[in-house]
Subunit: 111 residues, 2 copies
DNA sequence: TACCTACATATAGAGAGCCTACATGTAGGC
DNA sequence: GCCTACATGTAGGCTCTCTATATGTAGGTA
């Protein structure tokens, strides 16, 4: 997967995996990998800063927990984040429609 | 359209509109707009440098022409560009499959 | 003890490409 | 003279993603 392709879609991915339940960063990375059938291997250096950014702009909230002696920062969607996710989903549809309509092979010059 | 979303897909778009016939930059911009149903308004500051980059790496070739007193640089796909376009198309499918499978709403924790 | 893997978070700096803004010029209508 | 459409181009900025690195716990094993 070309790294640049993810640009601008990271937020949608993170928001989406957090939709049904709060998760911590490490679990989010695993969820992305599982849900994409192994196609998405997002490095920690991408995910952690992105989560902090989403928290800073109010789409996520977080709290620390200790499980099995290890510290976790668990993120959950805010109301703002939930609305944002809706927007991201329709933006995704528009995006794929637009790019898809250009990429579709056209052998005739009929427009 | 969020500018970042285009990241890494510009090459595919340019290669694709040049598939059936050579075009100059300005015509490429119009073609992108028309084919996408108005969704894609790519600024000249994006297209011209991108075309030069694609020429530099061998996916396009160009030649100057004068039409109606105006100078045009017309770009055409090279063999390498044609192969690249094939690759971009399958990469696009993999990309949308991966993101799509994550974005799809999941209400149960069974997945 | 030493070492390894899995789990878990975080930051600094690099790299790349898309965008804004600007510069330049022709053709044609009013 | 002024405007719009046509046509190409560059400089600099911005932002995000990635690589590389640092830190630490828990548990297995030799």
């Amino acid at each position: 997967m070309n790294p640049d392709a993810l640009r601008g879609h990271m937020d949608a991915l993170l928001l989406s995996v957090l939709e049904r339940e709060p998760l911590h960063g490490y679990a989010i990375i695993e969820a992305l990998q599982q849900r994409s059938g192994g196609a998405l291997s997002v490095p920690t250096g991408t995910v952690y800063p992105a989560l902090r950014r989403l928290e800073r702009i109010g789409h996520l909230s977080s709290e620390w927990a200790t499980v099995g002696g290890r510290k976790r920062r668990t993120y959950r969607l805010t109301e703002s984040g939930r609305r944002q996710l809706e927007g991201e989903r329709s933006a995704w549809r528009e995006f794929t429609d637009a790019i898809g309509s250009v990429l579709r092979p056209q052998t005739r010059a009929s427009g």
